[in-house]
């Protein structure tokens, strides 16, 4: 029974370690656990296993630069090959978790503000506007139903060419979570602002912008790891569109692939295209 607990702790630690180092890390700790269990002291074995979590966290934080993780520069892992400089992304919302966390915090702030701000009896500048929260959201939802498809269509989010990928569900879950959080932010911020007689059409404009940002952000992420693509490189020339491709290439810093974004759509290249290198 206790052996299973020990192995479960090691398994949990292995989840913390990056995938490419996980198997070796787990093998080493399982080997060492065998020695730790030889004395038959369960307390000592438990302490030994809990130490693995600290090691896993260290390993996670210090597992080297991004260039080591993908296959794009796998050739550089060979002996004698000089180490390239580490590529670091400085984008604030690079990580999908960080993006959702920030949106979650903003949503919480928006809800808090809507609860704190007192509701006036009437809106003098908005005659006929619903003063109760329930009626407001009933009015707000149809507005979203109109604005958001327009935003999605003009942002051309689904226009990219992505090969069928095993992470498609994760990608869409991330997109839905982002949209839901944005909806909460916009809805509750709107509900707070209309009490100060802010023109409703300006707020709905913000709604449109938020949705458009969500779509553009989704397009700029790697479909594998959902991190922001970076290091844009301008390719070709627009005046030679008939002879060569022109546009921008964005790189996944983890080496999962390259996104080709055409500068001007051509018959043979109308939408952005993802080239997987994994």
């Amino acid at each position: 029974m206790m052996t299973r607990v020990y192995l479960a702790i090691l398994w949990a630690g292995a989840r913390i370690v990056r995938e490419r180092e996980r198997a070796e890390w787990l093998a080493e700790w399982q080997t060492e656990l065998w020695y730790a269990m030889q004395g038959g002291d369960h307390r000592r074995s438990m302490s030994f296993c809990l130490g693995s979590l600290r090691d896993a966290l260290w390993k996670r934080r210090n597992s080297g630069a991004y260039w080591r993780e993908g296959s794009i520069l796998a050739i550089a892992n060979g002996p004698g090959f000089p180490d390239p400089p580490a590529i670091e992304c400085t984008h604030l919302l690079e990580s999908p978790f960080r993006c959702l966390a920030l949106l979650g915090v903003l949503a919480a702030v928006a809800i808090f503000l809507s609860l704190v701000v007192p509701t006036p009896a009437v809106f003098p500048d908005l005659p006929g506007f619903p003063t109760s929260g329930g009626r407001f959201f009933v009015t707000f939802l149809p507005a979203c139903a109109v604005f958001w498809p327009i935003a999605a269509f003009t942002s051309d989010m689904v226009g990219g060419e992505y090969p069928r990928h095993r992470n498609w569900l994760r990608r869409w879950c991330f997109c839905v979570a982002k949209v839901v959080l944005l909806w909460v932010i916009v809805a509750f911020t709107t509900w707070s602002l209309v009490r100060f007689s802010v023109a409703l059409h300006i707020v709905l404009g913000g709604d449109f912008m938020a949705m458009r940002w969500a779509m553009m952000d989704q397009r700029r992420r790697c479909p594998t790891c959902l991190r922001i693509l970076d290091k844009p490189v301008r390719m070709g020339s627009r005046s030679r569109i008939l002879l060569e491709w022109s546009g921008t290439e964005l790189l996944c810093l983890r080496g999962h692939g390259v996104m080709h974004v055409p500068e001007s759509p051509a018959i043979w290249f109308t939408k952005q295209r993802w080239m997987s290198l994994s």
Binding site: E28, A36, S47, G51, L53, R54, D55
Partner: protein, 113 residues
């Protein structure tokens, strides 16, 4: 040569007492993780991250034992750690800095005698 010397001095300068103990233990012949824990008396959550740091700094190098050897002794294969040339130089410097290091972690041969 100068670069090697500079690196050695720099590595020695940032080596903590714990790291120096582990380096001493590896130099003394305690070659795998659990034996290092027993030799130094440090918990696993300290020993293993310290070993990772030492390996990252090229002071030690690891190598898995052959499966056939482990099978012959009816135990799982060990991951052995050994000092590099830089590690040996750093250990010498650490012994000067921490004179009690040798007493804290004596050589395996000395201990058995």
């Amino acid at each position: 040569m100068l670069h090697s010397y500079t690196f050695c001095v720099a590595a020695e300068a940032r080596l903590s007492h714990t790291a120096a103990m582990i380096l001493q233990a590896i130099g003394a012949g305690y070659a795998y993780g659990f034996s290092l824990m027993e030799a130094t008396g440090l918990p696993s959550g300290t020993v293993y991250p310290a070993m990772r740091r030492l390996e990252r700094d090229d002071l030690i190098r690891s190598q898995w034992e052959k499966q056939s050897i482990a099978d012959a002794e009816q135990r799982p294969p060990r991951k052995y750690y050994r000092l590099t040339a830089l590690g040996r130089a750093t250990l010498e410097a650490s012994r000067k800095r921490y004179p009690l290091l040798v007493r804290l972690v004596p050589d395996r041969e000395t201990e058995s005698v």
